[in-house]
Amino acid sequence: MSQQKSKKIRIDVKHLTRVEGHGNILLNATDGRIEKIEWQVPEAPRFFEAMVRGHSYEDIQIIVSRICGICSITHSLAATKAVEDALGIEVPEQVDKIRRLLHYSEQLQSHILHIGYLAAPDFFGTPSVVPLVGKAEEVVKTIIGIHRAANNWSDVIGGRTTHPITILPGGFTKIPSEKEFKELYESLKDTLGKLKSLASAIETVAENIPVFERDTEYVSLKQTDPSVYTFYHGDITSTDIDGGTVPVKDWHGVANEYVSDQSTAKWAKWHRDSYAVGALARFNNNAKLLSGKAKETAKQLGLEQGCCNPYMNTIAQLVECVHVVETSLGLIDEVLTEGLEEHRPVSKARAGKGVGCVEAPRGILFHEYEFDKDGRCTGADICIPTNQNHANIQKDFEKLVPEIIDEGEESIRGKLEMLVRAYDPCISCSTHMLNVEFVK
């Protein structure tokens, strides 16, 4: 090349929009040579693990729910499971079912928020969902309909859509009435139809999903007894251990967290330099266990087990939406057939240590607490899915950018932003990670 002027690319996205929390993308390249490519998390750290110390086991859930407004139900449930583990509290079968129903509601709430409000504008080429109304009104209506149904679902079980107020160690303060369950059932049936039409709409713009692959490790929960596509129970599995599992209590050996200079959030690695969690990870580990309609949706949108295109995470989320709704119909049936049992749990303080692990919409989540004999928290350790993805995002960047370096700054910027959004990062909740070693 005889050109004298060097071609410089400078991308500096401060506070990426349409994600939850603050993240920056930095790229410096000259003549196709990459000088710097970084995914940064400058969100203000919030120190939850330190803040819960001294508080009663009863109040832990209230505090840590505030880690994240989008997956507050998941945090509440993980914390409550950990508290129950530490204090040896048993949970009745029906409570467990209703909790799973509540947990499913948040998967739908969060996934549809991401698919519809944060990612869809990328697919349809608008800056946000408001102008999308003009472009694809029916789609927006469908999205709003599903989102409202998801919110009402959380509301009726959790007491409200965000930061649930019915969960106690051992059970619920209040469960929905039979009438409310029946209404919920009808609303979910209707939602299943709406999800179908959303899937068809997404199918029409599927060609806008970038083609990019990078083989990586996918980590999620796996439940064998009974064998279900799990969000709530089970052990840790990974695509790198060939269907094997690691008990949840050994999670420190999985999420080997470390502090990166790029980030106020911590990073994690297991068998390789990085791993991925979230819908695609769950799909890659458990796809065979999906509900019938969810399998159909995966097929319709070309998602196959073993997929390693991170952009497809959004599609995996849509597949999971179908799965949770379809599965919940069955669960509600069961609960109603058994008959509702009001059960107001009483719990007692004691010393102990416990772990609670569930799948947040964005991936596997660990909560661990230790309590003294009065039930006051003496130590805490929380590991959030988005943190486990940060390193993987960085590695994706490093592979992706050379592949697209000739596409021009606009396109590169767009694809990088879209990549980060595909992970649906929940940055505000990822910024309070702690020591890899549990502090005694």
């Binding site: 508080h55 009663s56 944060l118 919110n151 303060t173 502090v259 909740c429 070693e437």
Partner: protein, 249 residues
């Protein structure tokens, strides 16, 4: 005058309050009909430096954030603090009960000295800049939020209750959760949420901050009646706005 221009900003928080704005669903269209939303990072890519009304979510926890919020204040005619983190410091203030260096070290270990992990005492937005309206709660109540917005458009001072949660709780015909042995902060917490938590059988933990004139003497009386330890009450009172500090500044 055209439509007022609104920008939404977030600081340290869970973003659950912004989520409540998203959860308005179709009503967002009413909102965007009455206001020009010119910046809202969580939901849209557009950004702007010009606005009449700034809605600020989250607490101020770093020196650089103090500068940022001051800057926002300079540009906005009206500043609304959105949610407990912004109005009273919220859960983030729990940190202030510890020594800051110790908190950092507890979370980040040997790396805690790295400059990007810096932190300062948590402040409510009103402790740094003047706040014109407060939308209380963790998270905010969607109806109260839009009510306040409409009041601003009408030039009316919103009527935010001066009385405690008990008023709304009793009107709903709830069973008092003290009877279930829960330490409920309803009698001293500002109403306006429709007694959300007690209506779900859960104790009120004070997310809307305390009323202007709480009677702590009476609270002690109740603790004795229920044979509880005053320490329990104090710990619960710390959860939001960290304790006995006045919630209005």
């Amino acid at each position: 005058m055209g439509k007022p221009r609104v920008a939404i900003f977030d600081f340290a928080c869970c973003e659950g309050c912004q989520l409540q704005i998203v959860n308005l669903e179709e009503e967002i269209l009413d909102l965007t009909g009455a206001f020009d939303v010119v910046e809202w990072r969580e939901a849209m890519s557009e950004q702007s430096d010009e606005y009449d009304i700034a809605i600020v979510e989250g607490s101020i926890t770093r020196p650089e954030d103090e500068e940022r919020v001051k800057n926002i204040r300079r540009r906005a005619k009206i500043l609304i603090a959105l949610g407990a983190c912004a109005t009273i410091g919220g859960i983030n203030k729990l940190k202030n009960n510890f020594e800051l260096g110790e908190v950092k070290e507890y979370v980040y270990g040997k790396d805690s000295e790295k400059p990007h992990l810096d932190t300062a005492k948590t402040k409510a937005v009103g402790e740094v800049v003047k706040v014109d309206y407060k939308v209380h709660g963790c998270p905010i109540d969607r109806d109260e939020f839009t009510y306040i917005l409409r009041c601003i458009l009408l030039g009316k001072e919103p009527e935010i209750p001066e009385w405690p949660v008990c008023v709304e709780c009793k009107a709903k015909g709830n069973v008092c959760v003290w009877e279930y042995g829960q330490v409920c902060l309803g009698p001293i917490t500002r109403a306006g949420c429709g007694a959300r938590c007690p209506s779900s059988g859960f104790r009120c933990y004070g997310c809307r901050g305390y009323i202007d004139n709480p009677n702590v003497e009476a609270a002690k009386e109740v603790i004795e009646k229920y044979n509880l330890d005053i320490k329990d009450l104090k710990a619960k009172m710390k959860l939001f706005g960290s304790g006995y500090e006045p919630t209005k500044k």
